[in-house]
């Protein structure tokens, strides 16, 4: 069981980081295009990575 859990943690963490960046980064990117304020992309990416790290902590750090 232990080996499975390790691989699960490894790829889940990777997946969360990618999807956090993709989703909120994407939202930020389109917001930046729409409002013509380029820094919104950066804010989106930061929000995404924050959310992803928070999720990882919720899932693996709490136990």
């Amino acid at each position: 069981m232990a080996r499975g859990n390790e691989a699960d943690a490894y790829w889940s963490i990777f997946g969360y980081l990618v999807s956090g960046l993709l989703f909120w980064g994407g939202v930020g990117y389109f917001a930046a295009r729409f409002f013509d304020k380029p820094y919104l992309t950066l804010i989106g990416l930061l929000v995404g990575i924050t959310g992803a790290i928070y999720l990882i902590w919720l899932r693996f750090g709490r136990q």
């Binding site: 499975g4 889940s12 990777f14 997946g15 956090g20 993709l22 989703f23 924050t50 959310g51 999720l55």
Partner: protein, 260 residues
């Protein structure tokens, strides 16, 4: 004879064009080498396991032992250890997946075949799609559509406002990133490995045919590296087949679990 396609125009490094193989027969556009190799792998895998299991005996022959070892590996180390209770339902799928991917990967270093079909991204996409449907289907069957989606989207023990931030990430992870990383990991490993072998072996050939003596002297090093990398590739090919199956098993286990 030697300088057939090296007419002094410099080394042409291998590129993605080396992966676009022409159809074998001119008028059948879909029948390319990767397609043929996939068919061949299906035939080989089926034959091997039918023959190894046909004369099953208490004292196994070498062939039976080999077949049973692979089966036992998938059943015990992948299915039972990861999925746990009620794992036998998934052994046929995982076993097929593992042997199919493994055979196709190893075709990458078998002389004359020498092409991993999984370096064409379409094949891993389809396999990942199968796994995607399997693990969502068993999750929905086990827990019901509403509860399954709620478990995915809402991590328990979080203030309600935070869900605006977290739910999109969870949904993107389960429905987009998981199948995508599953297929792209396999594809990228096979693609890069094949390209690496092409670089060293074609590079060695080019150096051997070069007019400078120094190039000729260093050509064997390139070949040696190519051979060493072939062994390395063998390891990567086995590992990628293993990881693909392991992650599928993990996703199934996650979908069956009551909460993640």
């Amino acid at each position: 004879m030697i300088n057939l396609h090296f007419s002094g125009e410099g080394f042409v490094p291998p590129s993605t064009n080396d992966f676009n193989l022409p159809p074998i027969f001119e008028n059948i556009a879909w029948l390319t080498k990767p397609v043929l190799l996939v068919f061949l792998s299906v035939i080989l895998v089926s034959l091997f396991f039918v023959i190894s299991a046909r004369k099953a005996a208490v004292v196994p022959s070498k062939l039976q032992f080999a077949g049973e070892s692979i089966y036992a590996f998938v059943r015990n180390d992948l299915a039972r250890d990861v999925i746990g209770h009620d794992f036998m339902r998934f052994v046929p799928y995982l076993f097929t997946l593992f042997t199919f991917v493994l055979t196709n990967n190893i075709f990458g270093i078998v002389p004359f075949l020498q092409f991993p079909a999984m370096s064409h991204v379409g094949f891993p996409y389809v396999l990942a799609l199968f796994s995607f449907f399997v693990f969502h289907y068993v999750g929905i069957r086990k827990q019901g559509l509403g509860k399954y989606l709620k478990d995915i989207a809402f991590m328990p023990g979080v203030p309600k406002a935070v869900y605006i931030l977290l739910t999109p990430i969870e949904i993107a992870t389960f429905f987009l990133v998981r199948p995508l990383t599953l297929s792209l990991r396999l594809f990228a490993n096979m693609f890069a490995g094949h390209l690496l072998l092409l670089v060293f072996i074609m590079g060695g050939e080019y150096m051997l045919h070069d007019s400078h003596l120094i190039m000729k002297i260093f050509a064997p090093f390139s070949f040696t590296f190519g051979i060493a990398l072939t062994f390395f590739e063998f390891m990567v090919q086995c590992l990628q087949a293993y990881i693909f199956t392991l992650l599928t098993a993990l996703y199934i286990a996650g979908a069956l679990a009551d909460e993640h």
